[in-house]
Symmetry: C2
Subunit: 193 residues, 2 copies
């Protein structure tokens, strides 16, 4: 909960009563390594906040899973289209390490908004944050080479390299595990020279 | 304005007074073909709604522009990170045809929210819609081949092929204009056979 409250504190002040309401009306859930959090085909009625660990977003393409993104501590997760329009999602979310999420269900948000008008702002910021994340992913796909994206990941989410299997990282970079090995070697040699 | 009102009507009811307030407090602006709407490096304090025409999102990569997306009628545009955190944007938006936008500036939204509480909902839906758009772009990058993405574009935004120069479409698909020509020919032949 602390990570969420630290996050919220950066843009809004909640008093003691509001804090305890927020704590009471949201759910904390832990997932073990590799556990599936949400599966495609279902209707998503939850927004997640990663308070600990790491979550992988992947799509299923003819039986092969393709990693699109890694969410780490302090990030919101929302399967936008499914959540908004109540249609089956194409997203899959999986814990790639021991992970703790704070879950806002749609009905929690509705109830909370009535008792805590600031909840509307929290929900908007959650969606805004997820939008920013998504737009960064697009910019990175469009403007960067796999090697540049590898370096960016190394800079922004270094802990991933300990946590995530190499094939997920390779899939995220759009390259084969062999190419990832070559890039890693090249970067390592550059850093040493 | 009609396209915006039709869009809003799908999730919220505004009375006559609220409608006229919305109309009074937002700006309609037209852009000629190829006109730059917003340029990287500036701080974005506007959300756009495309009421007519087509807008290209592109990033500048060492002097070459890379097309990331085409927004058409009925879509909201928001440079999320710049708008939220008041930092210089990396996005460029350009009209690729005669285009009409309804512009919500940050201060318009603030003023409107005070007089029209439903504005908070409209702003949230705008951000949600842009999130859905972005997540679809990511899913498409991750799960589809250039040919599949070409077919998807043909299905969802056929009018683009008349409006946008071929090199923009090729750049969006992540291929050369020559490869785009080959794909078009192949698809054309498949359809005829």
């Amino acid at each position: 909960m602390d990570v969420l409250l630290e996050n919220i504190k950066t843009y809004i002040t909640l008093n003691k009563e509001e804090l305890s309401l927020l704590e009471k009306k949201t759910t904390k859930k832990t997932y073990h390594k590799k556990e599936i959090i949400f599966e495609e085909g279902k209707i998503s009625n939850e927004i997640y906040f990663v308070s600990k660990g790491c979550v992988r977003l992947f799509y299923n393409v003819d039986g092969t899973d393709k990693t699109a993104f890694f969410y780490t501590e302090g990030q919101f997760i929302c399967a936008g289209e499914s959540f908004t329009f109540n249609i089956p999602a194409i997203e899959n979310y999986q814990a790639i390490d021991h992970t703790e999420l704070i879950i806002f269900t749609k009905s929690d948000i509705e109830i909370l908004t009535k008792q805590l008008p600031k909840m509307e702002i929290i929900a908007r910021v959650a969606v805004e944050n997820e939008l920013i994340t998504s737009q960064k992913v697009i910019a990175s796909f469009v403007t960067k080479s796999p090697e540049e994206r590898y370096l960016e990941l190394l800079k922004t989410k270094k802990e991933l390299f300990q946590r995530a299997p190499q094939q997920y990282i390779a899939s995220f970079l759009g390259i084969s595990p062999e190419t990832l090995s070559r890039i890693k070697k090249r970067v390592y040699n550059k850093e040493r020279s």
